[in-house]
Symmetry: C3
Subunit: 319 residues, 3 copies
């Protein structure tokens, strides 16, 4: 594995999941793999689980890690080619990225979409410039369109929670929020479940919230939430803003908040969410606090997802 | 020791002090105790001595530590049960705390009181929710009502500085400040000195600044500062806002600022303060810069206090 | 070496450069030198290269490092002697610095000039108080008037890039910026090149931008940029605000921006800048992206500069 930006960087999802489960059983078994290697964790946006789990993963592999909050410890970066930098941006990514490349062996980076310039966001301009100018392996800690470490942790969690000899029915359902949220988690979950191939996969959302088909192709799209949820084994709850009317929040969908009532015709479905969650806006307390919630498992599995990806890249580097 | 929230978590103060003094003489003697253990340092409020001394203590024990500034690196937490989260809080402590529990072996946390809601503050709602939902040992780095690592360092400093065969007279004196300050340091110092039992202990403050009796019981309360300070061996200087008229600053007490003049009838008293100190508001330069100041010793002893508590909890865990 | 505040702390620049080049070839060769030693990295201002390179340097020497952003993790420091602290400053350097001295073996600190009080800035009041009150070796990560780790990395970069048997011609040229910038990098580069002595050294700038002669003495001053640049082997581009009319930006000097056109009569000059750079304000894209740019090399060499200085001080301490 050279970079980890999307599921397309993964040769075998099943093999990767098994490697993660092995790390979960023995966190320190590869403590020497990262000796004298250094990973930079570069945040252009806030983060809790991602930040902590990636640091822990690096420690488990014996790597040194350095966290850098670009916006708070440093300054504003410029990403536009040819910019005359007489405004608020202090440094161009063309100058900053090679330094990360010189200082680190691997680079992890979190960026968010603008939710304004759809073309730049969906071209992943920021991450691609960092890959281009840093010259070292780059791991996405969530980019403009995808959140692959989250999706990997989600597939680990589903694998651990479903032991039957059939394909589970997995439903990704849109949920309300109070402000515009990126499409990343939904795009990425759709992309991974489709690529994984071991599920009947349905996506449900109000009209106007269609996701980019490059990620959803292979899933059934169903606008009636009740129909979609019927017989579900897993319900992944997530808000996202409109892809069509880019970055917008459409009115009158508060009834999409997932409650125990919505779950009554499911197959005793496990409920998933990437966190942080707006309680009693996206999901009700009773669901989150109930026995079928997998949210803590998903978050805990972020460590093993990150550790596996770091280990894959270290192994590739040393070969 | 399971948690470290107040002096009530301590079996023997004297034994703990001796253990700290032993670490001070040989900082790295337990370098293997913390191998493959990880402590999270979670700050909901600013900190200097506490932050640095706890990281150093963890390093001395060979533990990995990760600092997380919840407000700056992450986002605002919700603590109200059943909240409809359509405001500024991004994540509920019920969802965040279990993640800390999954990622860390121990959790250190700093919170401050609201100084508005007395009942919530004095019920220690935040720390108790973190203990309840994280499921791992929790060390207070200062909570709504107490600052036990500071008090522990204070008792170490007194023990080191007083070698006579009698009980020292210790006076806790209120001092002016420019804004409302928590009662934590005063509450906690009173609680520890009372529990320690090796002192004649007097608390002096203007009327209206009475502390909660659950902490002060056992100490003499004296409203005349000069009378209180007479023959003192140690004078602990500290501001706090009103407990009765909760969080308020009462007028016309600037003359309580401790100067060398106030110390003339003491027994050549050592002067203590937890820092940071407002010079020439709480205490005069001449006292702070004089030979009887223990403030640097107190701050230095924060390392050994933190190291001792971390070691106690690690030892309990491994038994 | 006791402290590292300016070139005056260096016994032999050439020997220091050779030591840095040796570390570059074998970064981990002194991994045991820093065992059980701890360096504090204290930032009163933002930093990227300096912050990261110093942490990496410490890791390479096996030292523990702790980064503390005084302004963001802590609070505002007071530097005025005798201040009545009833304003926004929370802690006096007289109280904070001894704590750093108790907690760390070495202290690295970044401060910036006020650009308002010239006398305080040029007396290096902040750094000198930290040296005085901390009692441990202090390394400047840029102070009010100098940036010695940058200059050291610059001399390493020049040494690596010039193999002829003659003295190179080095030109420091002023460049435009959009706001008042400290004189530190220019002062420090001038001081180091003059002390180094292996160059023909010319400084060029618009009238009104004369630097303090204590740093420039030994260099030729030339107000005509084209004349200065003629036959240059190295062109160091940097903005600074006025030293005479302290902290001011003077009008109508935009044509000083360095472009390929300005370089045509040089000796195929290498171009240097300390970064971050305002592209197309200080320097044109074509120069920065061209083959003669040394900016990435300079930044990469910051690690070896920092590692060498840390090692020098550790060695002095243990003798």
């Amino acid at each position: 594995m050279k970079n980890f930006i999307s599921v397309n960087d993964v040769a075998s999802i099943d093999a990767l999941v098994q490697k993660a489960i092995a790390y979960k059983a023995a966190p320190h078994k590869d403590k020497k793999l990262g000796a004298d290697k250094r990973v930079g964790l570069l945040f252009l946006n806030p983060s809790m689980r991602t930040r902590l789990s990636t640091q822990i993963a690096a420690q488990n592999l014996g790597m040194e890690s350095i966290v850098f909050n670009m916006d708070k410890d440093g300054w504003k970066l410029e990403f536009e080619d040819g910019a005359i930098m007489n405004g608020t941006s202090v440094e161009h990514i063309k100058d900053a990225a090679p330094i990360f490349g010189a200082y680190f062996d691997l680079l992890c980076i979190r960026t968010f979409p603008s939710l304004v310039n759809k073309q730049d966001d969906y071209n992943e301009v920021l991450v691609n410039q960092i890959i281009k100018y840093s010259g070292i392996p780059v791991i996405s800690l969530e980019s403009a369109t995808l959140h692959p470490l989250q999706s990997f942790a989600d597939v680990i969690s589903i694998t651990e929670s479903f032991k039957e000899q059939r394909k589970p029915k997995i439903v990704l359902t849109w949920a309300p929020h109070i402000k515009p949220i990126p499409q990343c988690v939904a795009n990425s979950f759709a992309q991974w479940i489709n690529a994984w191939g071991h599920a009947d996969f349905v996506i449900t959302h109000p009209e106007g919230y269609e996701l980019d088909t490059q990620f959803t192709e292979g899933a059934a799209i169903e606008h009636d939430q009740a129909t979609a949820l019927k017989d579900a084994d897993f319900v992944y709850v997530k808000n996202w803003s409109s892809f069509t009317d880019y970055g917008k929040v459409l009115p009158d969908n508060e009834h999409w908040m997932l409650t125990t009532g919505h779950l009554k015709d499911t197959n005793n479905a496990k409920v998933m969410h990437c966190l942080p969650v707006r309680r009693n806006v996206e999901l009700s307390d009773e669901v989150l606090d109930g026995p079928n919630s997998l949210v803590n498992l998903q978050a805990a599995n972020r460590v093993w997802a990150a550790q596996t990806v770091l280990a894959e890249i270290l192994t590739t580097q040393s070969n």
